[in-house]
């Protein structure tokens, strides 16, 4: 039983009413969202710009998981490990080799792609809960591995590394936070367009064929092993980019920032956003960034419980996440137009 198999098989009527291939927003909505993202920083404080940057970064990480789970039907609890590899690649390259921050991003994408591809190889034989356990093992091992003695010279051991925040180039009159926001936005849009095209391409259809029915896909001539590992590689690569950007934005990497808690957050983000719906990744990212803060402000001692209750509310109201909310909204708008 692969994780996303049933998402498709058990769709409720409300969700079934729309084409399942719809993974993106319409062109009009996309442009409005884009315009809002471009203009917003001009009106808010630096701290909010920082939070918006983090939203994009986590959104990218959730998007990566979405490609893996929503696209190819493989379930991962180990995304925090790929995120850590990306963050450390950037930190080490910037601080030890003095490489420009923008250049470290493609490098860490390549490193993480390789890492994910190699991890995907043995994971080929595992599916469902077994794969979840394997990726979970990866996530628990990662902080410990980063603390190892012989890596300490590079990774800074338990203390971690401090990353310098880049200034805006070409003497642009922008604060560091604002420059980093626009930089992240450009990277995010590029990766988003890449992901949409990937899922619509031949490879993307192969992913989805594997997700829907692995055996049928292989009998149709899809190279299951290749595409499953490829999905792992691409997902890890994008997560690595998110990790790199995260390291630059937070200006600090340490082993304990990349524990299993991060992997679980990313997973929750995917579920809340809607599995397989790419724009949902950013809605999910907003949930995992803002809801814990909100829970904290409602009750300090019970913040975990408040968070849990809110999460339950979301999954009761919309078991298919933000995607379902978007579809319901669309149907409602359609009805209003008719009247």
């Amino acid at each position: 039983m692969s994780a996303a198999e049933e998402v498709v098989a058990e769709g409720h009527e409300a969700v079934e009413a729309v084409p399942k291939r719809a993974m993106t927003l319409g062109t009009g909505t996309s442009l409005v969202v884009l315009a809002a993202l471009l203009i917003a920083p001009a009106f808010v404080k630096n701290f909010i710009i920082f939070q918006m940057t983090m939203l994009l970064i986590y959104g990218l990480a959730v998007l990566a998981l979405n490609i893996l789970t929503g696209g190819s039907g493989q379930f991962s609890l180990g995304q925090s490990a790929f995120y850590a590899v990306g963050a450390y690649t950037t930190a080490v390259l910037m601080e030890h080799a003095n490489i420009n921050y923008a250049l470290t991003i493609p490098i860490s994408a390549a490193v993480c792609f390789g890492f994910g591809y190699l991890f995907g190889k043995p994971a080929l034989r595992l599916s469902g809960v077994y794969l979840a356990l394997a990726t979970f093992a990866l996530a628990t091992a990662m902080p410990q591995l980063l603390k190892l003695n012989f890596l300490e010279h590079w990774t800074g051991g338990v203390q971690g590394l401090v990353v310098t925040k880049p200034d805006a180039p070409f003497g642009l009159p922008m604060s560091q936070d604002m420059w980093l926001y626009y930089f992240t936005l450009v990277v995010t849009i590029a990766i988003y367009i890449f992901s949409v095209n990937l899922l619509r391409s031949r490879s993307g259809r192969a992913f989805m064929a594997i997700r829907d029915n692995e055996i049928a896909a292989s009998s149709m001539g899809v190279n299951v092993a290749l595409y499953k590992t490829l999905a792992f590689g691409v997902s890890a690569g994008i997560t690595g980019v998110a990790g790199s950007l995260g390291a630059i934005a937070v200006q600090f990497v340490a082993p304990d920032s990349y524990t299993i808690t991060l992997a679980i957050s990313l997973f929750l983000g995917m579920v809340v956003g809607g599995v397989g719906w790419l724009p949902g990744s950013f809605v999910g990212a907003a949930f995992i960034i803002f809801v814990p803060n909100m829970a904290e402000s409602i009750s300090k001692g019970l913040s975990g419980a408040v968070f849990g209750v809110l999460l339950f509310l979301v999954i009761y109201l919309v078991p298919h996440g933000a995607r379902q909310a978007a579809i319901l909204g669309q149907q409602l708008a359609g009805k209003l137009k008719k009247n």
Binding site: A134, L268, A305, G308, I315, H320
Partner: protein, 292 residues
């Protein structure tokens, strides 16, 4: 050699706890096809209930029985109230539900009993077992209780009507419904039993790891690992898996240089994954043949 025997026996004793947790995990997995990530927190909460009862002057065994009954009812209530509405939702939504439950229980326990570490009594005493230096009476008691529990479950599922009905509901729900089994209540019953088994594991390990809201985190991971290693479709396999994981964890921590306590868990998990790559259904699991 003495170190070796010592480590193996200690491994078997902690393995007994992993076996209990694994058993609880398998019970729910059989009933609803999901891994319950909140299993450990549920066990922790039950253990706190028994501790509270003892603080109020109830004797150990009375508290033990009351806690079992409480856990059983609470397990059923959680299924009826929280997870029955999610029965038709996607798998991953259910997993998110388990994580939410985890957060709720953990945070409430922290608020009620705070996060300080508490002593928890053992009913068996902590003197050496039968005069041998290798194992304490508490460890022997842990092994004994697990074996008893396993035998009890075996008879329940093999020889009682309701045990048979539960097995039927888990393996072929449609046919079970046709012969008049209320499958929905069988699932709730599975939750109740799993919660009760988990509470036994919690009460047995509390004297070793001490009582606090995060005590079950590590134990649950080993429990999952044990269940997956033994095969999620086999309660017997889960128990064997528990003992194997316990022993291996101790031996790896002692004999592999550079492992120590920090890397014990990753090494144990890596071993399990290596086993799974060779035998994807676990050591005792049935391999399910799929049709297009």
């Amino acid at each position: 050699m003495e170190l070796f025997t010592n480590q193996v026996l200690a491994g078997i004793a902690t393995g007994a706890i992993y076996a209990c947790m694994a058993l609880a995990v398998v019970m729910i997995y059989q009933a609803i096809d999901h891994l319950n990530f909140a299993q450990g927190e549920m066990a922790m909460f039950s253990t706190f209930i028994s501790w509270q009862l003892m603080q109020w002057g109830v004797s150990y065994w009375a508290a033990f029985v009351i806690t079992l009954a409480f856990s059983f009812v609470a397990g059923i209530a959680i299924e009826r109230i929280l997870f029955k509405p999610l029965a038709k939702a996607p798998v991953l939504t259910n997993v998110a539900g388990f994580i939410a439950l985890f957060a709720i229980i953990n945070s409430s326990a922290g608020l009620i009993w705070d996060f300080t570490i508490k002593q928890y009594p053992t009913p068996f005493g902590s003197s050496p077992f039968l005069g041998s230096q290798l194992i304490s009476t508490h460890q022997a008691g842990m092994i004994g209780v697990t074996v008893l529990l396993l035998l009890g479950l075996y008879f329940f599922f093999q020889y009682t009507r309701i045990g048979l009905a539960m097995r039927a509901a888990a393996s072929v729900p449609e046919s079970a419904r046709l012969v008049g089994i209320n499958t929905s209540w069988m699932i709730a019953l599975g939750w109740g039993m799993a919660t009760a088994i988990g509470s036994i594991a919690g009460m047995l390990i509390a004297p070793v790891v001490f009582l606090e809201p995060n005590m079950m985190g590590g134990v649950l991971i080993y429990g999952f690992a044990a269940a997956v290693l033994g095969g999620l479709s086999s309660p017997f396999g889960a128990v064997v898996g528990g003992f194997l994981v316990g022993v291996f964890e101790n031996l790896a921590g002692t004999y592999i240089p550079g492992v120590g306590n920090e890397l014990k868990l990753p090494i144990a998990l890596a071993l399990i994954i290596s086993v799974l790559v060779v035998k994807p259904a676990g050591l005792f699991g049935r391999h399910i043949v799929k049709r297009v």
